[in-house]
Structures are given as C-alpha cells and as structure tokens.
Amino acid sequence: MIQLFNVTKSYGGDSAAVKDLSLQIPKGDFIYVTGASGAGKTTFLRMLYAAEKPTRGQILINGQNITRFRSHQIPHLRRKIGVVFQDFKLLQSRTVYENVAFALEAQGKKRYEVSKKVYQALKEVGLEHRLQRKPLELSGGEQQRIAIARALVVDPLILLADEPSGNLDQDVTHEIMELFKNANARGTTVLLATHDHSLHQRFPRRVITLDKGKLVSDQQAHLS
C-alpha cells in the first residue's frame, strides 16, 4: 500500500513540481501516471524511491513513513522497489549478466542464488542467450528488457517505470507491457509514467493525470 498525504515538492522559485498531492494506491494495483512533459510525473516517481524528499507532506509505503527515513534506511527501501527508465540506465562496461546480477549483489545475496535468479529473470524477458553481451551490442528493446529484468530480479513489491517505452517502437512496447502485466499478476504494484495515451487505451488500467504538479483526474479502468 502506497499512501501520499498533501505531498508538495518545490525546487525553490514560484511553481512547485508536485502540489498538494494525496493518493492511495492499494497493493497489487497497476496505475498509469500521465500528463504532459513537466507535469510532475518523474518527480512523483522519484519521491517514491526516495531520490527526492517532499518539501511538505508525508509518503507511507507499507505503513512506513519514508519521508522520515535517514539516509542509511533508503537502500533497504530501494531493495523492495524496481525502477525502469526511458534511457535504461544500464552499465555499459558490464555484461548483461553483470548488469542484472548487480541488483542482487548489492543486497548481499550468495553467488549460487545470484546466478540462478539472474538466469530466471533473463529467461523471463527472453534474453537468456545474451548473457555475456555488453548492452551496446543489443537493440533498444533488448536493453529495456534487461533493465526490466534488473528491476524484477529482486522480486520487488513496487515497480516504477518512467516512460519505459519512450524510445521504443509499437511492437517492442507491446512486449514490454506484457512483462509489466506479468509482474503485476504476481502481486507487484506497478506505477507506469507515460504521456502515450495509446498505452492505457490498449491496456486499460487505473489512470491518474497530473497537470502542473496537481492531480487533475483519477480514473478507474473500465475493463471490458
């Protein structure tokens, strides 16, 4: 369960990136966060994985107030959250295996456990045959699937995706949405920020819309 109470984030100046946002996201939900560029989608997601601290308001994840977290508590929060970016954020100097394994190594998992889980995660995204390649040797779609494998390999409670299909064509976007849906079906709460309306038309789910940092609509999906 994610709860936001009157959350505001401002970087100084007159306008705030997020204004007075209150929201409840039940466990296992799938939510689209939409809005034009600069609406505050990225800031909203960044506050959820504690990369930004709200200027005002409280954020609770599973009952824990993460706005009061000290810096040594933040890594433990992030181990429960998988994050996927538009620009993939893969380590170009490392192999596909090392990129995915890194998320588990950072949690101090044993070697045999790491190799088993990495293989499973890569198999799930269909890239188990690319283990020893470097990210730059792969296509954009494949790189994004590796980033998703890295996010999912830790069995996260929450998956945050910031414009994950921004650089990808329709077919690849479809494949990636299937991966998110599968993760959601296993109980992971998914928040997907996008300005692509066609996504929630093709895969209808709850949609929250931000405009200039304010929540302007919160629509439940009409599953047909």
């Binding site: 929060l77 992030r78 959250i81 954020k89 893969l90 950072a106 070697r111």
Partner: protein
Amino acid sequence: MLENIRYFILRAVRNMRQWPLLCTAAILTMAVALATVATFFLIVVNIEQLAQSWTKEIQVIAYLDKAVPPREISKTIEKLKKIPEVATVAYVSPEAALQRFRRRLGNDSSLLQGISRNLLPASFELGLHPDFRHQQGVEKVVRQLENSIDIEDLRYGQGWLERFNAFVDMLRFVGMILGGFLLFAALFIVSNTIKLTLYARRDELEIMALVGATMRFIKVPFLLEGALQGVLGGLLSLVFLAVVFKFILEQSIQSFWLTPADFQLLFLTLNQQITLVVGGMALGLLGSLASLRKFVRI
C-alpha cells in the same frame, strides 16, 4: 563476511579491467607524482651527503708557543686523544712544517734558503669524529684544547664553517618548502585525476544507489581500486627512479666537479622504498575517499 571481502576485491579488479584507460591514467598520474617527490627527496639527501663529505677536511690546528720536547710528544698526543670529539692527533714539528711548506712552494722553494729551521711554529693537527664536524663540535674541542696545552694560535676555518652551516640550513629550509609544495601539487593532481575518473563513472555510482546498494557497498570497491592503483603507481615510480638512478645519475655524477672521488650516490633505503609504495596506497585511498564523498549520494 568472507564472501563480501572476496566480492569487493573481485569487483575492484574487474572495475580496473573494465576501465583500462581511466585506470592507466590514474596509475600513471600517481607514479609521476610520487616519482617527482621521491626524486626531489633523493636530490636533497644526496646534496646533504655531498656537503657532509666536504666536512672531512674540517680539522683544528693548534699552533704552539714552543716546540714540544720529543719525549713529551706521545704523552701530549694521548692527552689530546682523550677529548671525546677528537679522532686523530698528529704532531707537526717546526722542521716538518718547513718541509711541507717547501714542498708546497715547489719550484719557488729556493726562496726558503738560508731561513732558520724554526721559522714555523710546531703544531698539533686534530681530526674530528664525523658526528662533531660542525661549528659546535669544533668550539667544544677548542675550549678543551685551550685548557690543556699552551697555545699560541688556533686555526679551524671559522669563516668556512659558518658559511657551510648557513648553506646546510638553507638547503634544509629550501628542501622543506619545495618538498612541501611538490607534495601538495602531487596530492592536488592525483585527487583531481581520481575525481575525473569517478566523474566518468558517475552513472555507475547512481545506478548502484538506485538498486539499493548501501554506502559501504558502493564505496569499498572504489576505495580498494584507488589503493591498488596507488600501490601500482608507487611500484612504477620506484622502477622509474631505479632506472634513472642506475643509468643516468650514477653515470653522470662522476663528471660533476664538486664530487669527491670516493663519493657514492645514495638511493632510497628499503624502508624509504616501502614508504613510497605505502604512500602511493594512502594517496590512492585518500584521493578516492575525498572524491567519492562528492559523487556518492543516496
């Protein structure tokens, strides 16, 4: 715990292999910085050694009122040898002094014909132990000499000694100022190089923090990497110094006009060599620590 240590070491080594150019740049910068400081240290140590070798010439000559009767010479020599600072004592009779003078005049020695054999005074020449070949040492000997025998005059190169002391003091002062400046410049250059190498890898640091790595987990491999690069830089600077020392300095020093014939150039002692490598490690470690503080944000 062991699994963690193994992981950190492996990670540090792999990082260096994955970033060969950055790693080489950091090692070379540290090697050049350390070699510069060590070369300067060697220069100062050797100039000081050279200066010390000049002090072999320091001696105190006590000219006597009248020649010592032959049977008392050895007694007086024994007495003078009891002065702790004195290493050698030689008696020069008026005849011996005149002979020496004649030899020095060479072709002009005929000028001395018909001159009394007792023209020059008898003297004792006192050589000093190496530890006392300085102004204070000489002054101590002079004080004790004045109390023990009848002396007409004393010669110990007062002016030269004062100039020599001023030179050694200045050498140490300039050495400390320049050495301090060099060390500061080396620290500055090394820490900036490490900062640049970390800047090139800031994505890596960001992603580490993103997947829930703790501060320790992010920093330790980078610190180990810095320390390892420092050790390699230290070893490389040592090899460079040894090559320059063996093939350039040792060959050219003999042609330097101020070098005494038996002068041996000093290289770093084993302890100093170890200090250089450990210093390299500390340099890499501290440089990484300072830069990481700037780049790692959770």
